[in-house]
Amino acid sequence: MAHVGPGLSPRLGPRLTWSFAALLPLAFLGVFFAWPVLAIVGLGLGEGGVLPVLARADTWDLVGFTLGQAAGATALALVTGMPVAFLLARCRVRGAGVVRAAVMVPFVLPTVVVGLAFRALWPDGGVLPIVLANAFFNVAVVARTVGGLWARVDRRAEDAARALGASRVRAFTSVVLPSLAPAIGSAASVVFLFCATSFGVVLVLGGARHRTLETEIYLRTVELFDLSGAAALSLVQFAAVIAVLVIGGLARRKREKALPLRIEPTRRPVGGEWGVVVAAWLVVSLLLTPVVGLVVRSLATDDGWSFAGYAALAGTGERGTLAVSGLDAALNSVRTATDATMVALLVGVVSAVVLVGLRRHGSWFAETLDTALMLPLGVSAVTLGFGYLITMDALPGDFRTSPLLVPLAQALVVTPLIVRIVLPVLRAVDERLRQAAATLGASPWRVWREVDFPLASRSLVAAAGFGFVVALGEFGATSFLARPDAPTLPVVIARLMSRPGELNSQMAYAACALLMVVTTAAVLVIERLRVPSGGEF
């Protein structure tokens, strides 16, 4: 379809229009992502330089631990996510809907909340809870990404292998697994990224003993004021991220090409399949353990069960730990997340539309833009927040003090998710359906309004919901940028935990439980809205 006749403009016109429309997301990425990140890079190269940092042995210890724990968590998430993917894609059993929603809850839980939830179970922290917590977040990514493809893999290939004499296990390893490979690769690269740049849980569970690049950047900036060292480490992290993104991009491209339209009907499991279903249920109940543990911890005090933590949220904590009350922080969280969601929706939906439009007209630019849009997903939020601090004063009216700073940073984190949810749905709209509308007299813009958007409406709502909860829980960039007099709930939680006092920690747990309830409720509503396998996460 990519052919353009020599000297013919009818096809070149729309392509130019689309490229022009790409300027909005590109400008947003340029100002609020590339500029701050490049400033960090410049800082790292400029001052002390990267080489001295690279030459130090403890830098490589950091790199080793960062990649090691990410690899461990990725492997764990893959192993535990596969049975859940199987259940979601293939099985018609009671409670599949519950599993679908339950597995999604951890993914959107604020990192600080998860950190605290695991600390409620492992009070001393350590490597094991770090790996477990990172895997805990990402089981959903594996289950949804792999499950989404699995539901579309033709069951008859497997049946044919069985008819030819392959055992159930053999049929799985020789037929099913290879066809799932692109989704597994794509999920693994995304999970690895999330784990390698995970901030909140490592900070809460690792303390000063177990540090990753991400937390080290934070500590060097905030506590040691070693800006060039932090910048150099950011650079190291950035290099790793780009490598993983490129690999993931290749895997994703394969997958999207291979996506057939039909969805295999689910059926009741037979024989050994029940074992897999039981394993999936086990994974889900394990996922819910920290969640329940957190609620219990928020109610348990030295004097028995009490709502003291919740009551204390109206105040500013023990001996005035906080500048504002917990309630004000909660309200501020909601306001900030709302602004962030609106910005991210605007940028995300425009990006998705532009990506689909560019690809329909066969532009090479689509692939590049697609990967560029995913970059913020992988670059550490801490690096980003740090970058904002050293660049945003150059914008009119010293942007560093603007109340829009935090929403914009959050929007940057949320936008890739929105693109990933909306894009596959828009891309799945049959080109001929759009052509039918055109032959009936609908102009190109009218086709979007009458066909694409109505068909994607549910995923748009779901994307907005997801965007909101992720913004609500965003911690990395927010902790850098939120002004002391306007913190969000996750920032308040971290502050409370870092200060002594039984009431403070009780308050932190109560705030966590509240955030979790809001998040879970949002996820449940979204799950009802989503079309089956509508997106990647």
Partner: protein
Amino acid sequence: MSLRVKGLSVRYGPVPAVSDVDLDIADGEVVALLGPSGCGKSTLLRAVAGLEPVGAGVVSWDGTDLAGTPVHRRGFGLVFQDGQLFPHRDVAGNVAFGLRMHRVEREAREKRVAELLELVGLAGYRKRRVTELSGGEQQRVALARALAPRPKLLLLDEPLSALDRALREQLAVDLARLLRETGATALVVTHDHDEAFTLADRVAVMRAGRIVQVGVPTEVWQRPADVETARFLGCGKVLPASVAWALVGVDARVGLRATALRTDPSGTIEAEVLERVHRRDHVRLLVRIGDDDFEAVAPVAEPPSPGDRVTLSVDHDGVAIIG
């Protein structure tokens, strides 16, 4: 009020899909584009609709070149093989779509929708969800939707191919009646010659991106332009003039369809039965005449068995003269 295609070529990258095609469709005429899959007939139709960039040549309506006219301003209706109904709209919403795009007032719109649903035999289906319809019903809705804004030209891309046989034959007859009744000017793409001959006033046979023959159905059926066209139109056997004269009494190169030779006790051609296959309304035989193999047909009752010797007579309806 007529379509003219002149020297049209469409390429997919380096691959030519349609090469130097000329075709005219007069007002109220139904033309079928007939050819095997991959011959470029759908591409030609899409180029006429404005959905495919034209490499060379001209598509014009009433003498006006359409090169600068985008799809949505051409006023050509299009029906796809699989309907492509809007899943988020009900039956009435689908049929009314084109009317809304043309800013037809609400009352006139509803009247027209009712009229069309009546026409395609789906009165009372207004509020039905399109996902609940059978394949045949979906295709009827798709047709009503395409006809609603009174298109200048109706383009049908294999409109019946996705349906099963009984339904397809029924719908082909319905569709033919509908096209006559509405006086539509139409271009139908199909790979099925029965369908083409049922629907069309004229048939254009297409092969490898080129139109190789245009004519009324009987002409194309009885006098295919070349050997490959004859084979595509069901002639399993092609005989040079000398052999044709001896066997069927025609002094020309001919193509024989299976029905050209029938078992007949008073026939003059002697043959030995090699194989026998039961078909819907006849028995298909493979026979040996002299030292060459031919297809022949026998009645379903008491068909001969392999090894039997039979006599055959020629049915000239099954004989096509090539060239």
